[in-house]
Symmetry: C2
Subunit: 137 residues, 2 copies
């Protein structure tokens, strides 16, 4: 399962991508109201996306958030990794968050290859999806 936080992040980004006219920034309060996401929680999420160079923010009156890159250059996997961490089902098959398993001999692990296959099939779907492709659906 992805976390609520991650789902909120994706929905916030699609909202921003849709409403960003290249001029006015999109405000937290608007996203919160229209996507039904708790406001203070959303603030944290948007700041985290800004810290990871997905968004840029403008403070003060008429402030808000804008995509730092075109929506077609922001992949779902990137967002999911920022918010939730690894996508793989086992730490030892994660491409971006690899950790070895304490108790198993990785060379002879029986379950590793299964979860490598799951990872590859999952990424085949997710790698192709961007914020842009989501809002066209």
């Amino acid at each position: 399962m992805i976390s609520n936080k991650c789902k909120y992040a994706i929905k916030a980004l699609t909202h921003i991508a849709r409403y960003d006219d290249g001029y006015k920034a999109v405000m937290t309060a608007d996203i919160s109201r229209e996507q039904d996401i708790p406001r203070k929680f959303l603030e944290i999420i948007l700041r985290e996306l800004r810290n990871n160079r997905i968004l840029e923010s403008k403070r003060g009156k008429d402030g808000g958030f804008r995509l730092l890159r075109p929506a077609e250059d922001i992949s779902l996997t990137e967002i999911m990794r920022i918010i939730d961490g690894p996508i793989a089902m086992l730490p030892c098959v994660s491409l971006n968050y690899y950790r070895s398993c304490d108790e198993c001999d990785e060379e002879n692990c029986e379950i590793k290859s299964v979860f490598e296959q799951v990872r590859d099939r999952t990424l085949e779907v997710l790698n192709g999806k961007t914020i842009k492709s989501l809002i066209l659906t």
Copy 2:
């Protein structure tokens, strides 16, 4: 990510499948030692698998656990659902643990179809895997 508990469950089952000679039951202590799984935690897992009709147990001296069905009839998805619950990444696309999302209009959800695809690709891999197929790898 699957939980450690689930990884332990799968490893315990492959261990039992390999050592079960149809006569003597396999003891918790042996599995614990050879698979390096904390013993008391393993007890809980094995009991849970027994309660879900994956294993049968024998108490007392010379007791232990045996597969209740042939290893080729126990799928990975069944074990994962028993121990960790849903396999899908969103509650609203789960086949066995469906729950609607509070905050979204499911008809018009932008992200649902992506995670349906992920679910389908994942199940394509996992549905084919059984305890039997794991120990032959």
